[in-house]
């Protein structure tokens, strides 16, 4: 962010999403909205219990689903007016950015989704913090790499032990 270009909520924080991206989003949201309405209609009405059916569990989610579908149609119409049907798609993000994001997401899922609950929490956390730091600092070049790896291992181990001690012993919380 350069000087004087800090985002304003009134003008949108960043450049608006491309019309094509909006169109695809609208299609996905429309499908979601319709699916919610369909599921809501399929819910039991409990007319015998309530006498009127006005407490049917599907009423509220059905309303939400209908609104999501309706608003996504408006989003699609707006995207079309902005040229969403044109051949050019959303601007591709820089390769490095995408790779960094994919690595961060993959490590996060591997840690929270796979390791936590199967491996002792302190060990899983130590390994995750080490892997995360080491991976992202690898590109800094071979100079000082060994030192950085040792530091990453120390941070990982420190985090694992400190979090376990603080949460389990001090605040008496259960950890996964």
């Amino acid at each position: 962010m350069s000087e004087g270009t800090a985002p304003s909520p009134f003008e949108g924080e960043k450049a608006p999403a491309s019309p094509r991206a909006d169109l695809v989003t609208a299609a996905v949201l429309f499908a979601l909205g319709v699916a919610i309405v369909q599921q809501a209609l399929a819910m039991p009405r409990f007319v015998e219990q309530s006498g009127t059916g006005l407490t049917a569990p599907g009423i509220v989610p059905g309303f939400h689903g209908a609104m999501i579908a309706l608003l996504s149609v408006l989003l699609a119409l707006r995207a079309l007016r902005r040229g969403g049907w044109a051949a050019h798609g959303p601007v591709a993000q820089g390769g490095t950015d995408g790779r960094r994001l994919a690595i961060a997401a993959a490590l996060g899922i591997l840690y929270a989704g796979v390791m936590v609950g199967r491996v002792p929490f302190w060990l899983a956390s130590a390994l995750f913090v080490f892997a995360f730091t080491a991976t992202f600092e690898w590109s800094a070049g071979p100079a000082g790499r060994v030192r950085r790896l040792v530091e990453a291992a120390a941070i990982g181990l420190g985090t694992g032990i400190a979090v376990t001690l603080v949460f389990e012993k001090l605040f008496l919380l259960r950890l996964p």
Binding site: G12, I36, F46, R174
Partner: protein, 501 residues
């Protein structure tokens, strides 16, 4: 009046009985550090600290969370001034004049202005809370199911209209939030909606895991994706606020305090809008308009006062209507519920003293914030230099603990991951997060009151539109929707422009 004063004294007594000074000192410090670090927001801070408060008594827990909230909103200005990067979204307006001041070698003075503005802003907002929340709470007792339905709708609409650049996406985000809240067993027949036989889904998606995902995991991903923050070394002059800066701009301070508190009290808008609105109002009214954006003391003062006044403002609807005024206030409200405090209209009857306890907590937090503003400058500079490659994995570990701790279910960690990934994608597609959060928080309120209203009226929709307060809230909601329709807004603005001055 005497009652109010004695309850306020009681509030202070209650807060100090829990070891307020000690807890306020560490909690505000954590808040300031969280706020100062780019990528860690006040919402995330309050959500993560909620985990730590499970084992505490309700009064200590609330004090800790209020202190983190107050500290984080203030802390954001450190990185805004020194790095030109808002530590929290609320501090974005502070970069406009804070960073130019720092570049002119006046970083210390800028931080002094920020400290003074923020301190006075929170104090002003707290005063308004103390004055109006009890009577508004009593007024809110007249709200029945029909009115509460409209309060929830108004919250979604106003947050959708104003919290991002795009009202349409704001509304969609709000309804997605409402849908998420409808997953799990409903109250009338205990029917598990969208559960498909899964016991975990039948229990519903926990508010805290979803919030930690949307604000924690998504922030970690966003932060790792973007370019690295380059720290600038800056020599810092005296950070003691100058009395002259305060007396010269007392009008700006009052105006920004009032705007900040008002915007805070509107459901779902939050500190960033408060800061921008205060900044815009100060610029319009200023005699030295040309200095704005180039290092204006008045501009920085307005933004800081506005954002900090918003904090008590955002707590007003939490206490009186159980509707949060901002995203961190939403988490604070969730924490109140976890600790067995029932925010909402009944609070004025069941425990009117709680409002004054919150006032006392805000004042304690504000004083500690002032203390740190004066002494905590150099250590914060070191913290700002922690590389994200080392900070973000630790934050992620804390998010995981935060999501798990409340119910000890691995399912909640999956919910956090899912919410984080979906939140990240929605953010990339420019969907604002505030209406989403508000939708999740208000979902239950809307659900219960819509169905209860329908049952009470025998399926007749007219009471939703004809009861006096309902009618007013409905009109406000419709005006908010109309305002966001491009044609309507433009029409009004053209008329306004055509009006003779």
């Amino acid at each position: 009046m005497t009652d109010a004063l004695s309850m306020l004294a009681g509030g202070f007594g209650h807060v100090f009985a829990g070891g307020a000074a000690f807890h306020a000192l560490w909690a505000v410090l954590i808040g300031i550090v969280i706020g100062a670090l780019p990528g860690l927001t006040a919402t995330m801070g309050v959500a993560l600290l909620t985990t730590l408060t499970f084992g505490m008594g309700p009064n200590v827990a609330m004090l800790v969370l209020v202190c983190v909230y107050v500290g984080a909103i203030y802390g954001g200005s450190r990185s805004a001034i020194l790095l030109n990067i808002p530590g929290t979204p609320a501090s974005a307006a502070s970069t406009l004049d804070g960073f130019p001041l720092a570049r002119q070698g006046l970083a210390g003075r800028a931080m002094g202005i920020s400290t003074a503005g923020s301190w006075l802003g929170t104090l002003f907002g707290t005063l308004i809370l103390a004055l109006f929340a009890p009577s508004f709470g009593e007024f809110a007792l007249q709200f029945g199911s029909y009115e509460m339905f409209w309060v929830a709708m108004f919250g979604i609409v106003i947050a959708g209209s104003l919290s991002g650049g795009d009202p349409l996406k704001g509304y969609i985000a709000g309804f997605i939030g409402l849908f998420v809240a409808s997953i799990g067993q409903e109250t009338n027949h205990a029917y598990a909606r969208f559960a498909y036989g899964n016991g975990d889904l039948a229990g519903g998606l926990g508010l805290l895991p979803v919030l930690v995902g949307v604000f924690g995991v998504a922030e970690v991903l966003s932060s790792m994706r973007g370019p690295a923050v380059k720290a600038v070394s800056s020599k810092i002059d005296s950070v003691i606020p100058r009395i002259g800066d305060i007396t010269a701009y007392w009008r700006t301070i009052f105006r920004s305090g009032a705007i900040g508190t008002f915007i805070g009290a509107m459901p779902g808008l939050g500190e960033d809008i408060a800061a921008w609105s205060s900044y815009a109002a100060a610029k319009r009214a200023s005699a030295e308009r040309e200095k704005f954006g180039k290092g204006s003391v008045e501009g920085l003062m307005a933004a800081e006062t506005g954002e900090s006044a918003c904090v008590p403002g955002a707590i007003i609807p939490v206490l009186t209507l159980a509707v949060p005024g901002s995203a961190p206030a939403a988490v604070l409200m969730a924490a109140m519920m976890i600790h067995g405090l029932n925010p909402g209209p009944m609070l004025a009857i069941t425990s009117p003293e709680f409002i004054y306890q919150i006032v006392a907590m805000l004042i304690v937090a504000d004083m500690v914030k002032l203390f740190y503003g004066l002494v905590l400058v150099k250590p914060l500079l070191w913290i700002l230099l922690i590389p994200r490659e080392r900070l973000m994995p630790v934050v992620f570990v804390l998010c995981t603990v935060g999501a798990f701790a409340i119910t000890s279910r691995l399912f909640d960690i999956w919910v956090m991951l899912g919410a984080g990934l979906v939140g990240f994608v929605l953010r990339e597609l420019r969907f604002p997060m505030a209406p989403l959060v508000l939708g999740i928080v208000l979902g239950d309120l809307l659900d219960k009151n819509l169905l209860r209203g329908l049952v009470l009226s025998g399926g007749d929709l007219t009471p939703f539109f004809t009861r006096p307060i309902s009618m007013g809230l409905c009109a406000l909601t419709l005006v908010a929707v109309a305002w966001s329709i491009p044609g309507f807004g433009a029409l009004f603005r053209r008329r306004q422009a055509a009006m003779p001055k």
